[in-house]
């Protein structure tokens, strides 16, 4: 059982992809994240839930150092990816982000062709030098994202011409094209209709075979549907972390219970 709450920090580091210890995040003087300890397992979908402003997106953005782009943001504590501190001086955030892919709330394909969208990451990291290699990478990524059959005949049409759900899957393809180890998803379905949401959720379940997936969501049903582990954040604290089933059926903390039953948030 991985039923771990904050008061019970017995974490098994060996099979954790990400191991965060004592993480604090400040925006200027305001503290957004307090003392977060969490282990994210490989080949598992972990969902972060909690009311708006609870810090779940902020914490997600610490995992690929996207917070570095915000001047006033300061991160303290330790976050290890495969045992190496990602905030160490020897780690280049640019390479880290290739290994830890990210999908955003609003589908944000580049205003380029579908092919160029997916090929961009491999190209800038020098992963594929020859045209054939690049073609193979693009096809594999689009297949991973379940988009290949829909777009294989129009790879050179603009990515912005796709429907919202297809655009979001294109963004997932773009993220997996750099062969990351972890995929971070920041409310990936909040701008999509129920059918597109269903497709993306099915896709997340398939991605679990190869990646560690971390998803921030506002929908508790979604967290229950797609994730195996769930972390509940409240006011910058990680209140409870454990198996999704346990969190939703037998929460240990009163705040978790209130949120799940709809009394806060």
């Amino acid at each position: 059982m991985y039923d771990v709450t904050r008061s019970e920090p017995e974490l098994n580091q060996s099979d954790a992809k990400f191991a965060a210890r004592n993480v604090q995040v400040f925006y200027g003087d305001a503290q957004a994240i307090k003392d977060v300890d969490v282990d994210i397992r490989d080949k598992t979908v972990t969902s972060f839930i909690g009311p708006s402003g609870c810090g779940k997106s902020t914490f997600l953005r610490c995992l690929n150092r996207m917070n570095d782009t915000i001047d006033i943001c300061r991160v303290e504590g330790e976050i290890k990816l495969d045992g190496r501190d990602i905030y160490d001086r020897s780690i280049d955030p640019v390479q880290l982000r290739a290994k830890v892919g990210m999908v955003f709330q609003k589908p944000n394909p580049f205003p380029k062709s579908i092919y160029d969208n997916v090929a961009y990451g491999p190209k800038i990291h020098g992963m594929a030098r020859k045209k054939e290699d690049l073609d193979r990478v693009v096809e594999a990524a689009l297949r991973d994202a379940g988009l290949w059959e829909e777009v294989k005949d129009r790879l050179h049409m603009p990515g912005t011409g796709l429907s919202g759900g297809q655009q979001q899957r294109l963004c997932i393809a773009r993220a997996v094209a750099t062969q990351p180890e972890v995929l971070l998803m920041d409310e990936p379905c909040s701008a999509l209709d129920p059918i597109a949401t269903g497709q993306v959720e099915d896709l997340i379940d398939e991605l679990r075979q190869n990646y560690a997936v971390v998803i921030v969501t506002h929908s508790m049903q979604q967290a229950a549907r797609v994730s195996q582990k769930t972390a509940f954040f409240h006011l910058g604290n990680l209140v409870e972390y454990g198996d999704t089933d346990t969190i939703f059926t037998n929460p240990q903390d009163r705040r978790t219970e209130s949120y799940i039953t709809g009394r806060i948030g």
Partner: protein, 427 residues
Amino acid sequence: MTDSTAGRFDWASPEINAHLRKRKRSQFYLKSLGIGAISIAFAMLALLIGSLISTGYPAFTQTHLVVEARIDPELVDSENPRDGNFRQLAEDIVTNRVIRGADTDNTDRLTDILSNRAQFTLRDMVEANPDLIGETVEVKLPVADEYDQLYKGLLDRDTPEQNRRLKDREIAIFDQLVDAGYVSQPLNWALLTNADSRFPEVAGLKGAIIGSAYALLVCFILSFPVGIGAAIYLEEFAPRNRISDLIEININNLAAVPSVVFGLLGLAVFIGWFGMPRSVPFVGGMTLALMTLPTIIIATRAAIKSVPPSIREAALGVGASKQQVVFGHVLPLAMPGILTGTIIGLAQALGETAPLLLIGMNAFITSAPSTPFDSATALPTQIFIWADSPERGFVSRTSAAILVLLTFLITMNAIAIFLRHKFERKW
């Protein structure tokens, strides 16, 4: 019924209706004011263009004497056509056409019908094609300004003779030529193909157009990369602190500095310290670049700011470096805005007069510059020179030159609008 509505607000009461009418009325007033303002602006524009066209249109044609004439080998040596006596040749061409009456004994008067530069028109023609010597060919020679004015009807024949620049006798002789069909009024291409001259009938804008083009080229080469570089640094890399705030305020201030001040700066620094030559388009372009730079920086920063943050995040999210984000995504998306701002800045520079006056680009130069380092005028300073000239012919030429300048400005702005529409909103 009254009972049930007693506590309710009455939306149909006369007070409410009056209030609604008042709101509608004030909206109507606001709309009328707007239409009025636009109408006044259009009327003023129409007035400006109308007055320019009405004074400028005569300058788009030029009266010429078109006659068959023999290039006399006695006057022009085929070995050395350049030193031929073209003055005599021009004189002969006129005097041979005029039927001498009792009072036409003074032949010097007759040559005054032709422009002082007509002999050089002949010379250039023969020099370009020496085979013409000894042949009879059709020659087309510009007439002098007074006769040009007369033929265009700008010289009033009813003015008392002593107040008129052409005497009755001179008019009678010219009328003879007109009646004989020797005078025509073709389009005045010389306005675009000749350089400046003291004689309005042969003065043209070639030197000014080329001078302006060189100055704008230098201005673009200097201000475009520097402006974009500064904007990228300030927008993407500079830390937000007091120093960057100070720089931002000062760039905005620079955009509001009167252009004559930039002219003084150019005079003191480029000509005074660095000892660069006066009146050259290169220095003019550098001075204009000082003025255009803040405009380009401000426009570029605005364009960079308007690139949606989601595109930046997307690129950062797949591991692009900051430089890759800027050059691969932000700049291409900001380019229409940058180009629009740049062209508008350059159009402003094209019309700028004061800084060019201070660095001496209002000199009298009768040949077009062949490099940016030759003395030249620019279009606005040429207009300034012509507006200042006493000859009657320059009145219409000044307006014509303004129309030429406006044509260039409108073309540049049209290009800016075209680029904006072409590249707009691709994400």
